[in-house]
Symmetry: C2
Subunit: 355 residues, 2 copies
DNA sequence: AAGAATAACTAAATCGTTTTAGTAGTGTTT
DNA sequence: AAACACTACTAAAACGATTTAGTTATTCTT
């Protein structure tokens, strides 16, 4: 006995894949004294199974349950060429922005029996490329790109959230940026602000330019020119408030006067407020600060942030749904762009300009 | 020609799985006029491939690159019974807590060529069960349970972060809670605090009881009894500061006096501070508030949070590494518990008690 | 009573790899 | 010249499902 124990039985360790599928269709067939075909037909309730007597069907169902038979997903995927899996690309898991969207994505996917791989790339082009080939290798059926540049055409359906590439075959879910900027700027103008500063997003985020440009354009409509030295940007691979802190410092260091600061997102607004306070400016008494996204801590910050809300959860759901539809019917007319509407949430980080 | 276009060619749409693997080993073999065996042997650099002349090998590599051949992951998985995939369970993607850990996990996994599925369950037992069976179905090789109850023994390797189940075969990565509580309480006691209140975690989080109990025990060491009506808890499925806000209100509503509040995490501390301020108490002048985790907004909050830092990123890396090791060598001696050390970060939400 | 239709199944191919167990052909011993 | 080793490959089985194309046995027509 010791002998048989020492004998090398199998090289590879028993992995989950192996143990999990210990009860296979073939074994089930042997137990039931039926062919694998019959069982497969019945368990998948194929039309042909109608001709199989209820009694036999019950026997099959019962045995499958009793032996805890679970069809091996891998084997099935190989045969039917569907993986029921999509790949999600995202700059950083740690932002509320990301997770709100992912919440919506997950809900919709689960509803339709899909799962997802996730790759967070910090905007690094080589990481994006790497994840993409990773996804393809693993046979995802579609790709959801969140705030991720998507410049090459893909043979897979791709839905992009807050991407702004106009690559062929791509569906974009994006915010009405003109509307968002207009609401934000109008709010500030109504409070008497004329000298605006901006913290742009990360250099590589597809969202950066649109959002900044929309603000500048909106300001122009109110007869306000945004000085280019009052535009700073987030840099590097840091998504903490620290990044906004640094960007705000750069603006403050110019010594150019401004009364309102429009930030790329709420997190950078939080960092910016710290920088302003350290420089002896009170928010909102001396400077009004406007966030973006309305993450759930925005409301609880001191001061509570005035911000432009994106319906992130909904965008996630919409994106997932669009993608699954495109997968189910690739010939289908894919809408090229879905636009969602922003909402200005007025709290206490903005106030009337003092005079 | 139009005819051939109209003829139904295949029922199923061309999915990624299908198109991606359009260049298969067999086709490659045909092009090279070699057998699939030879090619597989060479591409996987098996020892036997040594007997194949360099020239042939070069031809194979060249053709594989030229035709962009990528072995079909599904087919390979089926054959070798390895999926190089793990499942990660987490209560909520949206917490900095989660994403810091996931960052560490992802780094380690990528390093060792693994990928992961993620399931966020909001502590709902049926969601946990559902994801678990989902994972098994998809043949993950191991499970990483983050802040997730793990009460059934599994035939797969399981590593748990901040879980505290002592289930057989489980490896736990956990904080030195006694040390953490001691540091926190000592800090407050040194500032003169005697009347402590606590916001416990979510009912279903495995972390809740240990953390609260450790604090109560630490307090006892300093001769302080924590009144049970000054202990409130997070409830429901909400991970925003709002949850901490509600919990703090409950404590405030008792009208029992307290000078320090120890919160389950930083997010709930932020909510709690709002509740205190609304009730007319200043932080830290009237009440000191202590957070937990040191998420990256803690430093930027007003007031900046004093908090007990967990090395979340490191814990993620350690957990992933432990899990991969257990997968690689299931017979290996698995350490049952890895303990990591907390660090008290003193900022400005705690202060000397006034007299 | 021959033929068609239906019921109740099943054999074998297939998906795209990996792997085991070879096979020819050449060269080297003894 | 038989035995052996080596080189350069290959055929076929296997992984675990699904699916196509049947096969019996029975019942229904006419």
């Amino acid at each position: 006995m010791a002998d048989s124990k020492n004998r090398p039985t199998k090289k590879s360790p028993l992995t989950g894949a192996e143990k999990n599928s210990s009860v296979t269709l073939k074994k089930l067939a042997k137990v039931l004294k039926l062919s694998p075909t019959t069982i497969s037909l019945v368990l998948n309730s194929k039309p042909i199974a109608d001709s199989i007597p209820q009694e036999t069907q019950n026997r099959i169902f019962e045995a499958a349950r009793r032996l805890n038979y679970r069809p091996n997903y891998i084997a099935r995927s190989l045969r039917v060429k569907r993986t029921h899996t999509i790949g999600v690309m995202i700059p950083d898991l740690g932002r509320r922005f990301s997770s709100s969207i992912l919440g919506g994505v997950e809900e919709k996917l689960l509803e339709r029996d899909y799962f997802y791989f996730i790759g967070s790339h910090g905007y690094r082009p080589e990481a994006i490329a790497r994840y993409k080939s990773f996804f393809l290798e693993r046979c995802v059926e579609g790709i959801l790109a969140i705030d991720t540049p998507q410049n090459q055409q893909s043979f897979l359906p791709v839905v992009s959230i807050s991407g702004h590439d106009k690559t062929k075959g791509l569906t974009n879910i994006e915010l009405n940026h003109q509307g968002a900027a207009l609401q934000g700027v109008e709010h500030l103008v109504n409070l008497g602000h004329k000298r605006l500063a901006i913290i742009k997003g990360h250099d590589l985020s597809p969202e950066t330019e649109v959002r900044c440009h929309s603000i500048v354009e909106a300001a122009r409509k109110f007869g306000i020119r945004v000085e280019s030295s009052l535009i700073s940007e987030l840099t590097g691979n840091d998504t903490s408030p620290n990044n906004g802190y640094r960007a705000a410092k750069k603006i403050i260091d110019t010594k150019i006067e401004f009364t309102a600061l429009l930030c790329f997102n709420d997190t950078s607004a939080i960092g910016a407020i710290r920088a302003l306070q350290e420089a002896g400016m009170r928010v909102p008494e001396d400077v009004s600060v406007l966030g973006f996204n309305d993450i759930d801590t925005a409301e609880f910050y001191n001061p509570p942030l005035t911000t432009i809300r994106q319906p992130l959860y909904e965008m996630g759901k919409l994106a997932a749904e669009t993608l699954l539809d495109a997968i189910a019917d690739p010939s289908g007319e894919t809408v090229k762009t879905h636009t969602v509407e922003p909402e200005l949430i007025i709290r206490q980080s903005t106030a009337r300009v003092k005079e």
